[in-house]
Amino acid sequence: MRNRSVGALAAVLALAAFTGLKAAEQKKRTAEAKQFLDQIRGDDRIRQALNRLTFGPRPGDVEAVRAMGLRKWIGLQLHPGEIAENPVLEDKLKYFDTLSMSGGELVRNYPTPQIARQMIEGRIPFPEDPGRRLLLIKMMEKYEKRQAAGGDPNAAAQPGAPDMQTLSEIVTPAEARALRQGTARDRMQALLALPPDARRRVEMAAGPQQVIARDLMEAKLLRAVYSNRQLEEVLTDFWFNHFNVFLDKGADRYLVTSYERDAIRPHVLGRFRDLLEATAKSPAMLFYLDNWQSEGANSVAAGRGRKGARGLNENYGRELMELHTLGVDGGYTQKDVTEVARCFTGWTIRNPQRGGEFVFNPRMHDAGEKTVLGVAIPSGGGIEDGEKVLDILARNPATAHFLSRKLAMRFVADDPPEALVERMARTFVKTDGDLRAVLRAMIESREFFSAGAYRAKMKAPLEFVASAVRAVKGDVETALPLALQVAQLGQPLYRKQEPTGYSNSSAEWMNSGGLVGRMNFAVQLADNKVPGVKVEPERGARPGGVPAGIELGSPAFQKH
């Protein structure tokens, strides 16, 4: 181990000398390389593991890991199936019925005005719950009245507090009054005091589609704060962001729930090739990057020259290589983009607006011969053309390197040492993309436990908010205010419009507006003034020491 790192240092030096860098630059590089060799010791190693592999240590975590042994703790986090989940979390998640629904079930239970109208016209069945059926009929009456008066047809999709009349149809008059009186905190408490059924109906009345987004955001915060399988949560966030989709793009509103649950989460410690295919075949990604409407020029569908023929769409083909696998400098050309796009023609969605599912449509497929990164894909193929592309890309060394570097950027340092990245990439290639093995190589490296990595990363807003709540052992009754806080700090969850996802780099989050927002949240949280989160006074006050609010807003706490 020691020899290898000295060797790495020597290699860095030799490279620097070879390229003829100026002396100052060389000195700087040497100092940087040395930082990643200097080892941190004792409890700092435990703190480093907790900082990077969880959403931040809670009081007592360092002691608990010390008692168990750091190696054993890491081993367990790498095998989340062997960790019993926190019953508190499981209890809190029960309320969110959308999380276990399919896309179709979501559309039926939380319909757009267009779908609700089709229900009333008897073209699609109503949800089974009669209360919901009644609510939808009433909502539609109001919506059509507003429409007839020339209102904005999108208004029903906008979130907002239901009016008194709507409320009085759902809850008792006393409850309705409580929901519309007092401070935001009072109204929140009134909402939380309702029986779960009534609370859901109130939320629906404010816009059924918004319920899905809220459930996703709240569940993400609750899991980050409470889950015992912390590394799995960190990785689910990482890979969702890597394969980013945007919740507010049309049909994706109904497709993201299943995307995270079925395409991302099961594979975060599995094989990259499986993760890649799960995203490639997910309706959420097919819709987001437009592949579902991409038609081959030589396909049957295009051949009829019908009106509205769409043609080839390169959006997915390009992002698949640039963002998901090879990286922008991964050695592909514009010609490769077009060829990959041709391979994926016909990968589409059945009934996209009804919560659709993946289907291969041979009539849209370009069955001609293609060449991808020099590999010939013979004519006459069908769905297997796209699958071959996934094989080629998943096994390309550029992919191993690109993904290893991105992981190391998240877990080790903004500019991770190349020696580490290469070690991870070799593991990736050797194990055919076993993500658990790649992570293990990273976590067990000297670089991971080095002075250069320790507290070197700025927390992203989600990491900051979750770690603050964990640090004061806050009891989260409702996570919506926390999710809104994360959005205000610049990271609206599930709502990054660009396929790049949020930046992995500290610089992204280092700005004045963000710091002011963090300081205010820190003080509010410690003073027990964040609605929906209870903090015990003794955790906030810290008699004799630095007040918790000051600590949570301090420069040190912004890093992990």
Binding site: G150, P153, E498, P499, V516, A556
Partner: protein, 414 residues
């Protein structure tokens, strides 16, 4: 009786510490007496979602326009006042404004509002995110650009520069303003403060001692900006000239930009955006003067016009320029809307703008004149417009550095 200025000065000095008030704070405090050269200011507005330029600046003299849009075209100008609300407002006999842009007509008549038509990004992408990214980075087709054109256009920081010299209204710094020069994103002037005064003091000390130099520097910028913005906030604000900003986030953004500029805080560049322009469906209602586009334009035009009134003679030093990532199909689709297209229109407004004119060559809408047979063709690169404005407003910076790999050709509008 103490004047408001003296009161402001005392409170600001108390905050900054006696004798240590930085120059920018003094400048802000004495702004109202300032008779020296004032800063030139560039305000950039981004209409996110691809506004339908052909229904914003209506080519009512073009026959093909009415042929391509039988259901959603804006009718030609009319003398009949009963129908005026559903007809274009004539500009030059060929082009007209959407009726919801009525508040901008006086600016046009005063020759302070110019339009560049058939303008935009030469990149063929019809992806919102790519196109916005290219327009903000200022490098169409190049994704690797790390910073934005506005940041590159900022003159190099002087010692003791204002902490709000480059400011964006919103939660995050937009791509256009990211880069080496410091720039601040504000949700609002009001919210930009540490609300608990005792905590503020403790935080300021903690950040001054931060080990990470970048954190220390950002902390310093932050507390300077907090001090400045709080002193501005304390002055209170009533827009001048009877200006009334429309309700909604865009009007609020422009109101705050005006407040910042007029406070003398040293703003050189400001950025605001307005979303909701992606009108695939119901762009135009049964009455041509109504619909989703009309709603957005009422807010857009109303806010620009209010900004103009509110700014008063500060408009002499200010240029406002608007952009949207691409235009929309020349032909209407089957849902009373339009799909993603190519060229668009841009507005420029300010005392120095040679307004009352539509710039750019009109390429026509006949089938052979359309880009890829479907969209308005592009005849002016957006960098030509921005380059000219940058050259005038930001001084001597090389345009090569602002728009790498491109040589902007002056349009002649400032």
């Amino acid at each position: 009786m103490r004047t408001r200025r003296i009161f402001l000065k005392e409170s600001a000095l108390a905050m900054a510490g006696v004798g240590t008030a930085p120059l920018w704070l003094e400048r802000a405090l004495y702004a109202r007496q300032d008779t020296g050269a004032r800063r030139k200011i560039l305000v950039a507005i981004f209409q996110r979602g691809a506004a339908d330029g052909l229904n914003v600046v209506v080519p009512h003299g073009e026959k093909a326009y009415y042929r391509l849009r039988p259901g959603i075209a804006i009718p030609p100008p009319t003398g009949d006042s009963a129908r005026a609300a559903d007809a274009a407002i004539d500009l030059d006999g060929f082009f007209g404004l959407h009726p919801a842009l009525g508040p901008l007509k006086p600016l046009w008549d005063a020759r302070h509002l110019a339009i560049v038509d058939a303008a935009g990004s030469p990149d063929p992408t019809r992806s919102h995110f790519d196109a916005q990214d290219y327009m903000e980075s200022g490098t169409p087709g190049v994704k690797a650009t790390g910073d934005g054109w506005m940041n590159r256009a900022l003159p190099k920081t002087e010692a003791d520069a204002s902490p709000v010299r480059a400011v964006a209204l919103g939660a995050v710094l937009p791509r256009a303003l990211r880069g080496a020069q410091s720039a601040v994103a504000l949700r609002s002037i009001d919210s930009f403060q540490v609300r608990d005064p005792r905590a503020a003091k403790a935080f300021e000390e903690a950040y001054a001692e931060a080990r990470d130099p970048l954190m220390r520097a950002t902390g310093k910028d932050t507390f300077e900006a907090v001090a400045l913005l709080q002193s501005i906030q304390r002055q209170g604000y009533t827009p001048s000239g009877g200006a009334e900003y429309p309700r909604g986030p865009f009007g609020e953004s422009l109101r705050q930009i005006a407040q910042l500029i007029k406070s003398g805080a040293g703003v050189e560049m400001a950025f605001a955006d307005i979303g909701g322009w992606d009108h695939h469906v119901n762009e135009v209602a049964q009455r041509p003067g109504e619909g989703l586009l009309a709603n957005r334009l009422a807010e857009f035009g109303g806010a620009l016009s209010a900004f103009w009134r509110d700014m008063g003679d500060r408009m002499e030093d200010t240029v406002v320029v608007t952009m949207s990532e691409f235009g929309r199909t020349a032909k209407e689709n089957g849902d009373r809307g339009t799909d993603h297209g190519h060229a668009n229109c841009m507005f420029a407004m300010g005392g120095a703008v040679k307004g009352g004119k539509v710039y750019g060559r009109w390429p026509g809408l006949e089938p052979e004149q359309l880009y890829q047979g479907r969209d308005l063709a592009l005849t002016t690169d957006f960098r030509d417009v921005l380059g000219e404005v940058v050259a005038r407003q930001a001084g001597s910076r090389s345009l090569q550095a602002v728009f790498p790999g491109y040589q902007p050709k002056p349009v002649g509008l400032v």
